[in-house]
């Protein structure tokens, strides 16, 4: 790439042609303050914090939008520049009510930090005595217009990143306000509560309700992990303080989602109010009694020895790690020879020999076939990708016999029987993408083969770690009525246990109390998503790390550790350390 040479504050700097002054400065580790700019968003030059002096230019120029040129001379902290920034800050502090000492973001606020940096120690202009409204109509976060600086990061995140277009600005000048749709309360708007706006807000205008006033960023830990609420596998940071999860943030550097999360990943896991199982439970004289791990494991091992493999049934959630699924497969299917094995969710059919597509292909596609999958509710972040592609001019064809959350965005909605019509359009396109789920009928799957080699095929697997479970063969078919003994890796999921024989011996590995754990003979307490380390495989086949952010509650153990314990008690050497199990699991999921 052609490089352009310039000087910033007398320092020689070179940056790729087409860069802005701000980008060039950042490459050279020269700090230019910003407010409306955000690395994930297109620059708009609105806040004027990044004004710099460019030799030869009549006025100060915003670094975030001003392109670099050969021989350019830039000053980023000269007197005219700092005077201008102070002026901008004086005006920003005069608008709305910026009383930092009462603000949740005090200490983490970008506006406040700049106030300190440029010595804003009093109000130069009269401030409002008027109170601006606070909109708390959304469940998970609120909008305090008193703290808003109208930088429009939230508006741009909503349109550019999530492509939801809920947020906008109404009126103009001093009457400008961030608003949703046609000026309705946020809670009644088309908002999907993905929380991306919350994550980009530079001040305390958008505040997470659950973690508000629970500590400054410096008092928290950020643990990088992978969201395991659906099969997309978004990178996330679990923010904790003193062993408690405060909130979840999207990881801007994550390869799959680049910072985005959805309601399912960001908020719902923190609002789970089901009572936990904290100790192993064993049924004695008809009643579940708390026991220690040794006793519980001994009973399970005995049951495994006493019952024939053909009388066993094994059912698993896909909310489990690769390690747990691998050990479950190894122990029950391969070592003990159990064949009645199944998953708690469906699996997308095998469409092409090698799934060649990735979610990134959606972004560059000109036509998207969404077949038998409903990402709007199942994999919301994937639906954001689709809507982003539509903004760029791609067309969406929904092929589904069920109601589809993206039907309103499609240029064509077809039934599964009309899949041929969609295929015709895809054949005429340049970069078609086929996104398919478990709802694809076998006829449609066969018809879609015609597009192999032409289209990028990306599965949108139901469940979470479904890709790994399917690769391990755990979806071989399950009939609960055929088993006298049942091992259920239930995890955080619920299962009503229908068709389980009344006299069947049921062992459940679960995190939460549920009708199934009430009915079980042995309950093994399992750690939840934030309490375990391991790996998960996303719908593209990408294996990603899950890291423990907080300690398991009570005596709960991570999913794989429980199975490892059972295996060793049965004298099976199938991996005891996490690294060893992870390596075996990766090998089994992606045989080289």
């Amino acid at each position: 790439m052609a490089m352009v040479n310039l000087t910033i504050n007398g320092q020689k700097v070179s940056a790729p042609a087409g860069s802005t002054v701000l980008q060039a400065a950042r490459l050279a580790n020269i700090d230019i303050p910003t407010l409306c700019d955000h690395p994930a968003l297109a620059p708009i030059g609105a806040c004027r914090m990044c004004l710099v002096e460019v030799k030869g230019q009549r006025t100060l120029q915003p670094a975030c939008t001003f392109p670099i040129a050969e021989g350019m001379e830039v000053q980023t902290e000269s007197q005219p520049v700092t005077d201008a920034r102070k002026f901008v800050l004086d005006l920003l502090f005069a608008e709305r009510n910026h009383y930092c000492m009462y603000c949740e973001m005090s200490g983490d606020c970008e506006l406040q930090a700049l106030g300190y940096r440029y010595g804003i120690d009093h109000w130069v202009y009269p401030t409002y005595t008027k109170r601006f409204p606070v909109d708390a109509s959304r469940k998970y976060f609120l909008m305090d217009h008193n703290r808003c600086i109208l930088c429009r990061r939230c508006v741009r995140a909503c349109s550019e990143l999530v492509a939801n277009h809920t947020l906008g600005v109404r009126q103009r000048g001093a009457a400008s306000m961030i608003q949703a749709d046609m000026d309705v309360p946020f809670g009644q708007s088309t908002c999907v509560s993905c929380g991306t706006c919350l994550q980009v807000c530079p001040t305390g205008a958008l505040v997470d309700k659950r973690s508000a006033f629970m500590g400054r960023d410096i008092q928290t830990q950020h643990i990088q992990s992978t969201c395991a609420q659906c099969s997309i596998g978004c990178g996330m940071e679990i923010v904790t303080r003193d062993g408690n999860v405060l909130r979840i943030e999207g990881d801007w550097n994550a390869p799959v989602n680049a910072g985005l999360l959805c309601q399912k990943g960001r908020f719902d896991p923190l609002y789970d109010a089901r009572p936990r199982i904290t100790k192993p439970l064993v049924r004695k004289n008809g009643v579940l009694k708390e026991v220690d791990w040794d006793t519980a494991v001994q009973i399970v091992v005995q049951a495994l020895k006493d019952t024939n493999a053909k009388d066993w049934g094994v059912l698993t959630t896909t909310y489990a790690t690769n390690e747990a699924l691998y050990l479950l497969d190894k122990l029950f299917r391969q070592e003990l020879g159990v064949t009645n094995v199944g998953l708690l969710n469906d699996v997308a059919p095998k469409m092409v020999e090698k799934a060649n597509g990735s979610l990134a292909d959606v972004n560059n596609s000109d036509i998207i076939l969404l077949v038998g999958a409903n990402p709007a509710s199942e994999q919301p972040v994937a639906s954001f990708f689709i809507k982003r592609a539509l903004n760029k001019g791609a067309r969406l064809i929904v092929v589904d016999d069920q109601e589809n959350g993206l039907a309103a965005f499609a240029s064509m909605n077809l039934g599964m029987a009309e899949v041929e019509k969609a295929i015709e359009f895809a054949q005429r396109a340049t970069n078609p993408v086929v996104l398919y789920g478990a709802g694809v009928t076998s006829e449609a799957a066969r018809a879609l083969q015609k597009l192999s080699g032409k289209a990028a095929f990306v599965a949108l697997e139901p469940g979470v770690n479904t890709r790994a479970a399917a690769a391990l063969g755990l979806n071989s078919g399950f009939d609960p009525s055929a088993s006298k003994a049942l091992y259920v890796l239930l995890g955080e999921q619920n299962w009503n246990g229908e068709l389980v024989k009344k006299d069947a011996f049921v062992i459940v590995q679960a995190s939460y109390q549920s009708p199934l754990t009430e009915r079980a003979d042995v309950v093994l307490p399992m750690a939840i998503w934030a309490e375990r380390t391991g790996t998960v495989t996303n719908t593209e086949g990408r294996i990603q790390k899950v890291n423990k952010a907080v300690e398991p509650k009570g005596e709960a153990k991570p999913d794989w550790e429980i199975l490892s314990l059972l295996a060793s008690k049965m004298g099976k050497k199938i991996g005891t350390s996490l690294d060893e199990v992870s390596a075996h699991a990766a090998q089994a999921i992606h045989p080289s």
């Binding site: 802005t20 297109a42 620059p43 809920t166 608003q179 749709d181």
Partner: protein, 152 residues
């Protein structure tokens, strides 16, 4: 530089927005929610964007107005000729409403505007799209009677 991802596919459609809103306003009287939704659907633009635009420009009305919008010029020429203040005061008393308000019968809305580009014939006022020049109290009486006459 980063491409503007959120750019709506067809820029031509976005450029039609102001005209489309104006036509919708003529049809509906003011920009109702239905009018804004219709414009958004027809142009393939987000509702929030269309609403933002409609609320930005003061010539778009988001609230209902009377059948006749009386816009009295308070530009420099009209002011100097001694018309604007007197005319506005006269209309306020005559109609019993303040600037920005609508008569209870829904017939008249009183507004003040800057310069109707009729300085040579000031004071000037506008009723909907028609210009009235060299206005006096008598001419206002006559005008209001005529407009009311249409509704007898």
């Amino acid at each position: 530089m980063q491409p503007l991802e959120a750019k709506i596919a067809d820029p031509a459609k976005r450029s039609m927005l102001l005209t489309a809103l104006y036509i919708a306003q003529e049809q509906y009287g003011y920009l109702t929610k239905e009018a804004i939704e219709r414009v958004a659907t027809r142009l393939g633009l987000p509702v929030a964007d269309v609403y933002s635009m409609a609320s930005f420009y003061s010539l778009y009305r988001l609230q209902p107005t009377g059948r006749y919008v009386l816009q009295v010029c308070e530009g420099l020429s009209c002011h100097l000729v001694g018309g604007a203040d007197r005319l506005v005061d006269y209309l306020r008393k005559k109609l019993g409403i303040e600037v920005g308000e609508t008569t209870p019968d829904g017939l008249f809305t009183l507004q003040t505007v800057q310069c109707l580009a009729s300085c040579g014939t000031s004071p000037a006022m506008r009723v909907n799209d028609a210009l009235y020049e060299n206005m006096t109290a008598e001419k206002v009486d006559e005008l209001l009677d005529t407009l009311r006459g249409y509704h007898v």
